[in-house]
Symmetry: C2
Subunit: 420 residues, 2 copies
């Protein structure tokens, strides 16, 4: 049997290490020429498949592909675009098959989170549903760490490390300044639905009084009175107060705290962000001077402080996906299996896609302390190994060297366009 | 002549490398026991001198003092507190002399920015003005880079590196996502009066199209129409737009853009920050999806990505201050003298304090491009060496190891208190 080509796409919000997964996939595919021909990447994710905008990764040198391991974000472009169900939009799937057939694609590697697992699952069923058999393998990626059936998600460990390092550093700053200046510092972190990212900040607190003093999780209903009392308590005890706040915290009415109440000069509601809302609250109720930082994309693109564990796992899931495909598998997600906490040992596993798609892994209740303001030892045991290890990019003239690929287009063959 | 003790204080906003200066001072003083006895640090800066709250640094081990080099922020506490003039508050100076006499202090090392240089200058005149001769040496520190008579200010290079690294990384993220998601990213950086910090972001742009696409300086009057046109131009050309904005930009009326027009639910003016104001402007005028990050204290405490040049210079100015003192000097600021741009060569110099105090170094006009949106080659030549080199802290369990000193108090001797 002649080798089939592979399609690879990056999906959803990118991370500091998703390109390490791409590197694992392409380098490993190059070692299996009997089973896998060329790896075609979708320009801007699955949209590249629908519009037949494919990138020929074989045009990239080995050195550039290796450099992907140390380059943040998505080298081929990603997208926020979810395929509808087969019933809702059959034309999308027919188009996919048309493009796959034209380019002799037999493997589908989809690198993303929960929504992408769902898409990957649908593609894996194209053989049965539409007579085009394809080995579809989901390769996990999400800073949100919310995929089931895997110990963790590549991309999360680096965000976690960024949060813990940043709040430790800011805490040293606050401790220096608190007597005559800023008494409260808030670090706002991404994560609308789950508190994994905020929780990771808690790793910086190794003993009583260490930063951060307070963590605000989306899993815990925000209680203004209790929160302000805790802030005051910290300032009284430690001289200052450091807070990691998830952007997704909600009040008792289920409303995002970030949306609560500011309007611009024209009377429009202003989404000011949670840090600003909390800061204003602290200033007006306790009269304390504050500062806040909003990490936003900096946290998920911070390859310069990526977690060694995360980087290793990101590469490993890419490599494993290709090895599974070469061994004839499909319809699965590559997973990370924790063998032991300390020392942290893990191996590669797999989970059937129908068990992964559309299931969200929440933080276990026993990972949050009784008062709702910090992480437990169980959480610490889970998180600690995920931020371990440093793997710095190369620097030239003081700046990290990140690769920009040539991204040569594969000549179109279908002769048809497709509206997105 | 018996060795006199030294007083050392950290002043104003702390930086990623001010403790490296403390390390340089204490390690060097330990090598000059004939001239310098103990180094007493002010707890919370000059306030520690006024309240006789001195820290005995001789109680710290050599290893802990060495670890200061890799620890951000102010290990002895800093403060925002400016001494009045001798005419306005003679009691402050009498108190200083009382404390200095009681603890046999003959050297005054003041580690700070412009205001601190002014204080240091006043202290250096105590001999003439009040009969208490003391060798006062100013040791430069400020992320604002606004001290005159020195090539740069320790603390700035690391902030500069943080900005350049962060916007490069965020730019890679944007490039990946722009087709279906975020088209504009704004990084808000500290710096109310001068654009040095924002300018540093420009170093990440090595060729046409590189991030950041736009820099907003406080030196350039903000013109909303011109700005929005440039944003649109970038999105049209590159698919997205990355912006580094100084918090201090002002409009034609001289009003901070950050203060322009949002009110909270109670009708109070809301200081939303410049990033949010710009983002709202972009959304409502151009309809583009945005994200923004606010670096705030993270940028000045980010020891994990400190500049090697900056760290080296921070240590060197501390060392030189003690060597100058041991050689009998006073009334000067230690300075950094640029010998050549490429390769960057520098030496230690000195500047008379009366020429330093209350003089602010602005960005030269020829450092900003004609359109007001980027840096020139001259600026690049000046800035590039300041961010060069990496010097990582030690990590344990994935977290940087920063020292917390014992900070043992020196027994009080004056028997008097002093109200701050």
């Amino acid at each position: 049997m002649a080798a089939k080509n592979a399609f690879y796409a990056q999906s959803g919000g990118v991370t500091a290490v998703i390109n390490a997964t791409a590197c694992g996939i392409i380098e490993t595919a190059r070692k299996h020429p009997e089973q896998i021909g060329k790896v075609y990447a979708g320009r801007n994710g699955i949209i590249g498949a629908l519009t037949e905008d494919l990138i020929d990764t074989s045009a990239e040198s080995d050195a550039d592909i290796a450099a992907l391991k140390n380059t943040p974000a998505g080298a081929f472009g990603s997208c926020r675009y979810k395929l509808k169900s087969l019933e809702e939009n059959r034309a999308q799937y027919e188009r996919l098959i048309e493009v796959f057939k034209a380019h002799d694609i037999g493997y589908f590697f989809y690198n993303g989170g929960g929504d992408s697992a769902d898409t990957c699952h649908k593609v894996s069923q194209l053989g049965e549903a539409m007579g085009y058999p394809i080995q579809a393998i989901h390769v996990p990626k999400t800073m949100d760490n919310d995929l089931p059936h895997t110990d963790c998600c590549p991309g999360f460990g680096s965000v976690a490390k960024y949060t813990a390092v940043s709040i430790r550093e800011a805490g040293f700053d606050l401790a220096s300044m608190a007597l005559t200046s800023t008494k409260v510092f808030i670090l706002e972190v991404m994560g609308r639905h789950a508190g994994w990212t905020a929780a990771a900040g808690g790793l910086a607190a190794e003993k009583e009084g260490d930063d951060p003093h307070i963590i605000l999780f989306p899993e815990v209903v925000f209680d203004q009175e209790k929160f302000l009392a805790r802030v005051k308590e910290c300032v009284d005890s430690y001289g200052y107060c450091t807070i990691v706040a998830s952007e997704g915290i909600k009040n008792a009415e289920g409303k995002f705290v970030a949306d609560a109440g500011t309007t611009d000069a024209f009377g429009h509601t202003q989404l000011g962000g949670v840090a600003q809302t909390l800061a204003t609250m602290i200033k007006s109720s306790l009269g304390l001077k504050y500062h806040y930082a909003i990490a936003d994309y900096l946290m998920r693109s911070a390859r310069h402080i990526a977690s060694g564990t995360d980087l290793e796992q990101a590469y490993a899931v890419g490599k494993a996906a290709v090895e599974m495909a070469a061994a004839g598998k499909g319809g699965v997600m590559v997973s990370i299996v924790r063998e032991s906490d300390e020392p942290y040992e893990w191996s590669i596993g797999e989970a059937p896609l129908d068990q992964v798609a559309n299931v969200e892994k929440k933080m276990p209740a026993d990972f949050i302390t009784g008062d709702g303001f910090h992480i437990t030892d169980a959480c610490r045991r889970y998180l600690a190994p995920l931020i371990a290890g440093e793997h710095y990019p190369e620097y030239v003239n003081g700046l990290p060297q990140y690769v920009k690929l040539k991204n040569v287009a594969v000549p179109k063959k279908t002769g048809k366009s497709f509206e997105i």
